[in-house]
């Protein structure tokens, strides 16, 4: 039995963003993207890498700089420094609108004219983007706003969930190559959240697009995204695939015995955890030997479980917020 109880898995250096998988092209990449408002640095030297065809989860607490970063990608906010390459083109004031023709967005609250119907709203966006008329029907059916009852309703009479769905319809109308969605499930009920989550997960395959979803809800990103970028206080804290993030989870064995105190004496490096004892995660053969060893000393093993850090634990550690919670 080694003395190390809780061991970090080998992997990326804490705090450094991981490079994208080699050979993949990037839908979005930024180098040193920065935004300052006076003395406050809201986005600090961000190197974002969104692989094409992925669902990229942009994760961070409220006020971390997610919306500001997305606004910079859309040219709604002028960057204080750094550069952004969207869909293979560096954004300049000259080509901005041309590049954005292939980008759908939903930033903060959905944008829709409350005095118009859903169809009229989409019609205005369609004309601005120069899309064919069939796009409207497609967009409405994807978000399921195409039923007869909804047709004549003014958007001002929509529920929050319906407005959110309309916002998504506006974003994905015309099948843009890139979708930037800022908290798309905000204010939705559980079935609505499930529906939108499903939709987002399917988008790369169904529509051939790349999706960047920002959220402060870890569970949501966990269920939707292939890649994750974790941002805190304007800095990118960790970036990589979801699989890699899960792999960072520390694992250990927890056991309960008939005599914990005696067991702790026998097994070096044990950490007491209330009713349980924690030991380093080991393979089956070694675990079997542990239980046999305890049994020989007359200590019965009542429970033996494999546990791991939750994604939430990882996230809190990466954002340095364990102390506050």
């Amino acid at each position: 039995m080694t003395s190390q109880v809780l061991e970090r898995p080998a992997g990326t250096v804490e705090g450094a963003p991981a490079p994208a998988a080699s050979g993949e092209s990037l839908a979005v990449s930024t180098r040193g993207l920065t935004k300052r408002y006076g003395d406050a640095t809201v986005v600090d030297d961000m190197d974002l890498e969104v692989p094409e065809g992925a669902v990229y989860g942009f994760l961070g607490p409220n006020g971390a700089g997610k919306s500001t970063t997305m606004k910079m990608l859309l040219g709604l906010v002028h960057a204080s420094g750094g550069e952004a390459v969207v869909l293979g083109r560096e954004m300049t004031p000259d080509n901005r609108l041309e590049v954005l023709r292939e980008v759908g967005s939903l930033i903060e609250a959905p944008s829709c004219y409350p005095h118009l119907t859903a169809r009229e709203n989409l019609e205005i966006v369609r004309r601005l983007r120069g899309l064919p008329e069939s796009c409207i029907d497609e967009a409405l059916s994807v978000v399921r706003l195409d039923d007869a009852k909804t047709q004549g309703k003014l958007v001002g009479h929509f529920s929050l969930g319906m407005k959110q769905r309309l916002g998504i319809a506006v974003a994905l109308m015309g099948r843009p190559r890139l979708l930037l969605l800022d908290e798309p499930t905000n204010g939705l009920d559980p079935s609505g959240i499930h529906e939108i989550r499903q939709l987002i997960r399917e988008m790369p395959e169904r529509f051939g697009c790349t999706v960047v979803v920002s959220s402060h809800l870890l569970s949501e990103i966990d269920q939707m995204a292939d890649y994750v970028g974790i941002i805190n206080k304007g800095r990118m804290v960790w970036q990589g695939s979801m699989a890699d993030l899960h792999a960072r989870a520390r694992r250990w064995l927890a056991l309960r015995t008939t005599d914990n105190a005696a067991a702790a004496g026998v097994l070096p490096g044990t950490v007491a955890d209330g009713e349980w004892l924690r030991i380093k995660a080991v393979d089956d053969a070694t675990a079997g030997q542990v239980t046999l060893g305890l049994a020989r000393r007359g200590i019965g093993v009542v429970r033996l479980e494999e546990r791991s850090e939750s994604l939430e634990d990882i996230f809190l550690k990466l954002t340095g917020m364990e102390a506050t919670l």
Binding site: K71, L74, G75, L76, V77, H78, P93, D94, N95, R96, L97, E98, V99, L100, R101, V103, S105, I107, E108, A109, P110, S111, C112, Y113, P114, H115, L116, E120, E123, I124, V125, R127, L128, R129, G130, L154, V170
Partner: protein, 259 residues
Amino acid sequence: MGIATNAGQPGIAASVALEFAKARRKHLWLASLGLLAFQFAWLVAGASNTVRHNPDFDGILYMLPQLNAIVLPLLCAIVASTVTDVENRANMWKLLLTMEDARRVVAAKWAACLLILAVVVGVQTAGVAAVAYGIGFQQNLPGPALLARYALSTFVVCAMLITIVQAVCLATANQFAPMIVGVGLCFLGLFIAYLPPVFSWFVPSAYFFVCRLVDGAYDASQHMRFWAAPFPAAGLAVCVAVTVAAFIASRRAFAAREL
């Protein structure tokens, strides 16, 4: 949000048409023509009273700038505010500006306001002609040339007012400010007319008086005497200059804004 290019956005005519599409159900026409109707009713009431003892239409033409100064600046404010505010209420700017250049949006809204104004002025001019020829006035009836001049100067002054109010609308999300500017312009325009004429040149809404068709003064026997005012080339030139300057400045300021 920088240099305007056509690439990636619809043509200007399409943009203007979109502004009208957005203003659907905002009762824009109802509000502007409705306010005009109030003014017209007032004109008719006053003219009907006057024609009985004085069939000279010059008196009515002399009063027109006053009626316009009371109503038209507010009408311009209502139009500009409604067209611009439609984006504020919809939380729309951040989406709109990913599809349309900021300068183009300002220009399209401005053009839409001017189109509405052109209709309003046209209808009003027709109303003036109807009052002139329909109630029984005998003298100094306005011919086509005079009516055209009236329409032109009224339109040019209103264009200046709408540009000024639109600049305020773009600068603040709360529409209280442009409405106060509208009411204030009505107010100042009316009042300044009672001061010596030179003061009128400094108040935008007083240009209805600067560009008047008919001028008048009390003679020795305290009667009002009227005469045709010369073509207001200087006044119109100032209006156009202020319009262009205000438009360029507000468009530049808006394009530089961050969301």
